[in-house]
Point group: C2
Chain length 150, copies 2
DNA sequence: CTCACTGCAAAAAGTTTGCAATTGA
DNA sequence: TCAATTGCAAACTTTTTGCAGTGAG
């Protein structure tokens, strides 16, 4: 059956995702979705825009931003880092890691010892020379676990 | 001896750090350093600016930025996240972590299994509810390990 | 005395917003 | 039909840069 090619499959996936998330299926969203699926690495909105524009020349960067945020909120994609988008200075000089609340985005320190995880090698694939580990423990802080206070 | 108070100590520390790094000791840098040492958490340049300005009203935000970057380059302070300051989409849907090169800032994925670390609890201090771990393995990628090609 | 550093103002980058026109359901 | 979505332009936030004057060594 000629209709079962990759793009039909993506199309189906995408419609299911939208239905689950309760959002409309638009041409723009579909193309952003398809291009994201086809991209590797950690693309920026501009990079996504560049690729999408080759298929929808009239699309605006603002729509790409809105769509990416929508996908992230809906759990269709994740963002690489939940940390503040701005420069932040680490004032804690002790070896520590971070507790990051996925809801309110608060970042609290936790001593490396207290977290206590067990890494392995000192050398990873491709000759990557490990210097240290920075762990984000993602989850919900005490406050955000409260049932949504209406 | 009355001169051995905290601020004298900080002063001494700072001068040593500057000597090591081969940079000039200026009043602005000293005050930024002292305020950073006195701050907790993960302050933004604006926040640092706010505090420093109360001691040097004429200081400019640009100088605060330059100073913070200088401190980070010199290893006096770290930044909280080495990830791009811009929004990035995670296109890899498999459970994975990141190899982050502290030199060129490149981010490569590594499968969670391949990295294989051993976390512990499901509940941490303060009732933080863990959802998942995101690990940055910080170090030098193969390319950046080459002796600086003059 | 000299080069590094500062402050200023302007520019650049990245992101968000308001609104009128358009479109999916 | 009509609420949701889009494109545009303008605004906003964060960060960088060029340059003339100042200051540390």
């Amino acid at each position: 059956m000629a209709t079962s090619d990759t793009s039909e499959l993506l199309n189906f996936c995408f419609r299911s995702l939208c239905e689950e998330a309760g959002i409309a299926v638009t041409h723009q969203r579909q193309v952003v979705y398809e291009e994201l699926c086809a991209m590797h690495g950690h693309p920026s909105p501009e990079e996504v825009y560049g690729r999408v524009r080759s298929r929808i020349p009239s699309i605006s960067l603002a729509t790409v931003y809105k769509t990416i945020h929508l996908f992230i909120e809906s759990g269709v994609f994740r963002e690489v880092s939940l940390h503040h988008g701005t420069l932040r200075v680490e004032t804690n000089s002790r070896p520590h890691h971070h507790l990051v609340c996925i809801q309110c985005k608060a970042i609290r320190d936790i001593d490396a010892e207290e977290l206590g995880l067990a890494p392995a090698e000192g050398h990873l694939p491709d000759g990557f020379l490990v210097q240290r580990y920075a762990v984000d423990v993602l989850g919900l802080c005490a406050e955000c676990q409260q049932p949504t206070p209406q």
